[in-house]
């Protein structure tokens, strides 16, 4: 079979890069919206901040699974 393209080095790095795109955008939107909410309604700061951290924890998990997968599937 004729070889058309070749990659050198660790492909896991590309995998992690891809895994970081979604959560990156997600956390950006999430924190942005939470700040917007806090700016509009400063008295709701406590609830909004707690829920923001919860949302970050769930979103961030995807990027971290990407990181772990990079080490697992070598």
């Amino acid at each position: 079979m004729e070889l058309l393209a070749e990659i050198n080095g660790n492909v896991n790095a590309i995998g992690y890069g891809l895994a970081a795109i979604g959560p990156g955008i997600g956390i950006g939107i999430l924190v942005g919206k939470a700040l917007e909410g806090i700016a509009r309604q400063p008295e709701a700061t406590g609830v909004l901040r707690t829920n923001m951290f919860l949302g970050i924890a769930f979103t961030e998990a995807l990027a971290l699974i990407g990181l772990v997968a990079g080490f697992l599937f070598t």
Partner: protein, 273 residues
């Protein structure tokens, strides 16, 4: 060498004769040699000993702080009360309300234990987080898993608890074919898995970043000649910034783990569904 100006040639990194070049950190960082009892399952590595040491420090602090409690607290008792109060105010009251107070011993212990284990990642004699090997986060996640399921079953009974989680109300009957497996996986399988991975991967990546930047600093400073040596300054500055960043990550991960445990317990014991 090609015919290039001397100034440009200075910018090309050339390693000296001595030194063995730059080694990027690998996963082997987290499998250091056993200090004694080599080859046995119990032989502790320096990461394990870090964990034991911090557990000892933490226990000593809380025992000393609350050994003889007085109405007007002394200095140490004051500090201990602040430590407990931080979790009460920021996690328990925020998420669970007054009924969550009975879970306070678990949540306070979780928060301070994780924080103590995380912070060793940037404390010089250790320089590795006790939570950066899978054992500690896994056991903590299993404890959290056992407690929220136990609390839910005790509150509702087994059948009602499973029904509440697996068959959420307000969904058309045929859709349960899709909803029930998803709810089962997300509630009973993914919760402990993500609790473990979130803590583990955060501390792991933090340590790898620090090793990378300080390893690069040492490489550029001692083994590279020419103007490239000055990259060591940038690399060291980045390492320093990430040390500060790790303080925030250590705090945040302890907070998030405790917060999620509180949310899971609250979800399992609530009656709104």
């Amino acid at each position: 060498m090609l015919n290039v100006p001397a100034a440009v040639r200075l910018l090309v990194p050339t390693s000296g004769d001595e030194g063995e070049g730059f080694h990027a950190p690998t996963i082997e960082e987290f499998f250091p040699p056993q200090l004694f009892g080599e080859g046995t399952w119990w032989g502790p590595t320096r990461i394990d000993l870090t964990g034991f040491f911090m557990a000892g420090v933490l226990s000593l602090f809380f025992v000393l702080a609350f050994k003889r409690t007085t109405i007007v607290p002394g200095k140490l008792q004051n500090l201990g009360e602040m430590a407990v109060d931080a979790v009460y105010v920021n996690v328990i009251d925020e998420v669970m309300g007054a009924k969550g107070r009975r879970f306070a011993p678990l949540l306070v212990t979780l928060f301070w234990m994780i924080l103590a284990f995380n912070i060793t990642g940037i404390v010089p004699p250790f320089m590795i987080a006790g939570t950066s090997v899978i054992g500690v986060p896994l056991v903590l996640a299993l404890v959290s898993y056992a407690v929220f399921n136990w609390a839910g079953i005790k509150e509702h009974g087994v059948g009602a608890y499973l029904k509440m989680n697996l068959f959420p109300p307000g969904v058309p009957k045929p859709i349960y074919v899709l909803v029930t497996p998803i709810e089962f996986i997300s509630t009973f399988i993914l919760r402990p898995v993500t609790l473990t991975i979130r803590l583990l991967a955060n501390m792991m990546s933090g340590h790898l970043l620090l090793v990378l930047f300080f390893g690069a600093t040492s490489y550029f400073l001692f083994e590279v000649s020419g103007l490239m040596k000055s990259v060591a300054i940038v690399s060291y500055a980045m390492g320093f910034i990430f040390v500060l960043f790790e303080v925030i990550v250590a705090l945040l991960q302890a907070y998030i783990f405790t917060l999620l445990t509180a949310v899971y317990i609250d979800g399992a014991t609530s009656h709104e569904h």
